[in-house]
């Protein structure tokens, strides 16, 4: 039973990270129907910036929580900046082009960003300092759930609540929903659609950066290639939940995380990825619109 709970919690942790990244995919897809293939790279850049800031600060003698906060903030700022620039450079000139074009452009951007980090930094796996301290009150349950996992779960929960509030009650959230429903109509009622798209990319990137910092600190290493697999998995989560739907991304992320965790724990950890993609294929066959997605009729 304890093993089961342990697996369940680690699946939940993993799933909440997937959910954080998946939200970026789902929001962008909801608005411009584009798989932002380079989203995983934004996540990786977030983790890398955090790594660099941590490194510099530790060498200049800072320690403790201040490092975590500053590194996290800078990671978010830089990820947002990259997300914003990415949209401006690679996707905006392609608005109105056939659907395949922005997707290929996104793949190109993903390869570009990966190799940019590879050339600018290194191809080695770099040790990421454990930024999250071990809490004392966690001692009695430490064998089931670690402090880092707890922090990840809480951070994700808070972020999700903030995001829901943002989308539901603020002006920009309303504009985002309107753009998602009908872009040209939104433009007609005076919504600056380009701005809304930029904001969507920025929010998505911020979420990815949070995920990046948490994962890097949890796993303890960063590499220029981590964004690729995380991105693909998160996209799987987004599709699983029903792409375009915000609660769907969260549920999809959790389902994916739990599936992987149980499959790895009870069957074999070598085939983790196979289970993830098997699940994706299964969902797509049985319910192509995902768990929470609505089926939309295609019109001519």
């Amino acid at each position: 039973m304890e093993y089961f709970i342990e697996l369940f919690l680690s699946g939940l942790t993993r799933g909440s990270i997937y959910a954080l990244i998946a939200l970026g995919y789902t929001m962008v897809y909801g608005i411009i129907q584009l798989i932002n293939f380079a989203h995983g790279e934004i996540y990786m850049i977030g983790a890398f910036v955090a790594y660099i800031v941590c490194g510099v600060m530790t060498i200049y003698g800072f320690h403790g929580v201040s490092v975590l906060i500053i590194a996290g903030m800078l990671a978010i700022i830089y990820s947002c900046a990259y997300g914003y620039t990415l949209e401006k450079v690679a996707y905006r000139p392609l608005r109105g082009a056939p659907r395949l074009s922005p997707l290929i452009s996104a793949i190109g951007m993903s390869i570009f960003l990966q190799n940019y980090v590879l050339l600018a930094q290194t191809s080695d796996f770099l040790p990421f300092p454990a930024l999250i301290p071990d809490f004392e009150f966690m001692e009695p349950v430490a064998h089931i759930i670690g402090s880092a996992e707890l922090v990840i779960l809480i951070t994700t929960l808070v972020t999700m609540i903030l995001l829901t509030l943002l989308i539901k009650y603020t002006k920009i959230g309303k504009a985002m929903r309107a753009t998602q429903q009908d872009m040209s109509m939104a433009r007609l009622v005076g919504i600056n659609v380009d701005q809304v798209i930029s904001v969507t990319f920025i929010i998505g990137s911020a979420l990815a950066a949070i995920g990046g910092v948490l994962v890097a600190s949890y796993i303890g290493q960063v590499n220029f290639y981590i964004g690729f697999l995380a991105g693909v998995k998160a996209f799987t989560a987004a599709v699983l939940g029903g792409i375009g739907s915000v609660p769907g991304a969260v549920i999809g992320g959790l389902v994916l995380g739990l599936t992987e965790s149980f499959a790895a724990g009870y069957i074999s950890s070598d085939y983790e990825d196979v289970f993830a993609f098997g699940l994706l294929v299964l969902i797509l066959i049985l319910r192509p619109s995902g768990i929470m997605g609505r089926t939309t009729k295609q019109k001519v």
Partner: protein, 407 residues
């Protein structure tokens, strides 16, 4: 002046963006920070210049679009190379020249050059195969390398366990890949473009994970060594001779691929693919069987990858899962995209450029992937039709005008 200010702002923005990654390098083992200020200067200058080029190119693109809208349509105007190829007499001469060059190549240059040429030719066939799926049928396949792996492993394993020869496996590998294409195609028939891309990507990764972990079947990450080279009636060949021999087989395979895909393109099924690419709903309305069309696109695309996979295993005599990563898929895809989707000549030229360039410019090979990535983005923005765009076949009633004149 306004432009100058704008460019300055852009370059400052990029200096900010690239600052932590380009300038700072942390060395955690020796505990010191390396500040690379020179990089900052370079980024600033490069972006400053690039932003001018970028603005100019965007303006030009817009102007061209405006011209196209106002009726002066020059989009369908064939490029110079196409005009050259339209000229029948010149085309035959050119083709014979190329063929002659290809045939004498291994005798003029040394074995090393032939080996490079063989790998370029392998990518030509891969590009042409993927061209069917992506270029003609418009189904984005990000796991194409999986079919390549199926072919390579089919040869390696059948050769290892049963001692079957190259020529027996060559068609078998193709057909096996074909089957995999159909297996992959079935569940995703109902999916639209972007889902398709992700599922194929997942498929590619599943194949790789299985090859890496199922050691009893595939010998795991260490791969399979000592695969037989293709034999010629049991003749003993040294390395140079067998390279030449493989080179000629490859030339034959390339010609076969060109002929078959060229014929396919203008066949009934090829037209159905193009219709599918342009508009799926209209395509159904015209009475085209979508399931059959999509499956055949996958199967026929996969077939070439399987064949050339067998070739690859025979050429390198050693394979392991590391040869079949997503990056390979991405390279093949960029060959198709850069060369010109749907255009056979474009894909051939694309493969030659993309594979031979890093071989001959060694200094450049480190920057190969970053340039590929950037080129994919730039191509999509400024020249979506590729280096050599696909010309649509047009049918004109040449006789009609004369008849009406006579009346």
């Amino acid at each position: 002046m306004k432009n100058l200010k704008q460019s300055l702002a852009v370059s400052l923005w990029f200096i900010f963006l690239t600052f932590p990654l380009m300038v700072i390098k942390v060395n955690t083992t020796d505990q010191f920070v390396q500040w690379r200020w020179m990089n900052m200067l370079w980024v600033g200058l490069t972006i400053f210049v690039l932003s001018f080029v970028w603005r100019y190119a965007l303006n030009r693109k817009e102007a061209r679009q405006m011209a196209a809208m106002s009726g002066q349509d020059d989009q369908d105007k064939p490029s110079k190379i196409q005009v050259l190829f339209e000229n029948q007499a010149l085309r035959t001469k050119l083709l014979f020249g190329l063929l002659a060059f290809a045939l004498v190549f291994p005798w003029v240059f040394d074995t090393y050059q032939s080996t490079i040429m063989i790998s370029a030719l392998i990518y030509v066939v891969l590009g042409l195969g993927l061209n069917i799926t992506v270029g003609l049928a418009g189904l984005l396949d990000l796991g194409y390398v999986a079919f390549f792996a199926v072919g390579a492993y089919a040869y390696a394993l059948l050769n290892y366990h049963f001692g079957l020869g190259f020529w027996t496996i060559l068609p078998v590998g193709g057909i096996l890949s074909c089957l995999f294409g159909v297996i992959l195609g079935f569940p995703i028939l109902r999916l639209r473009g972007d889902y398709l891309a992700i599922v194929t990507l997942g498929f590619g990764m599943i194949i790789k994970v299985v090859l890496e972990n199922w050691s009893a079947f595939s010998f795991g990450p260490s791969g399979i060594a000592n695969i037989d080279k293709p034999g010629l009636f049991g003749l003993d060949m040294d390395i140079a001779a067998s390279t030449t021999y493989i080179y000629y087989i490859m030339i034959g395979l390339v010609i076969l691929t060109i002929v078959v895909t060229g014929r396919l393109k203008h066949s009934r099924i090829g037209r159905a693919w193009i219709a599918l690419r342009e508009d799926e709903i209209a395509c159904v309305a015209m009475g085209i069987d979508i399931a059959r069309t999509k499956l055949s696109a996958y199967a026929l695309g996969a077939f070439w990858a399987g064949m050339v996979g067998v070739m690859f295993a025979a050429k390198t005599t050693f394979i392991n899962p590391a040869s079949f990563t997503f990056m390979e898929s991405a390279i093949i895809l960029s060959i198709v995209v850069l060369g010109g989707m749907g255009s056979i000549l474009g894909v051939i030229i694309g493969a030659m450029i993309l594979i031979l360039m890093p071989e001959y410019l060694r200094a450049f090979s480190e920057y190969r992937m970053i340039i590929f990535g950037a080129a994919m983005v730039l191509m999509m923005i400024f020249r979506p039709q590729g280096i050599i765009s696909n010309i649509r076949q047009k049918y004109e009633f040449k006789g009609l005008k004369e008849k009406t004149d006579n009346v």
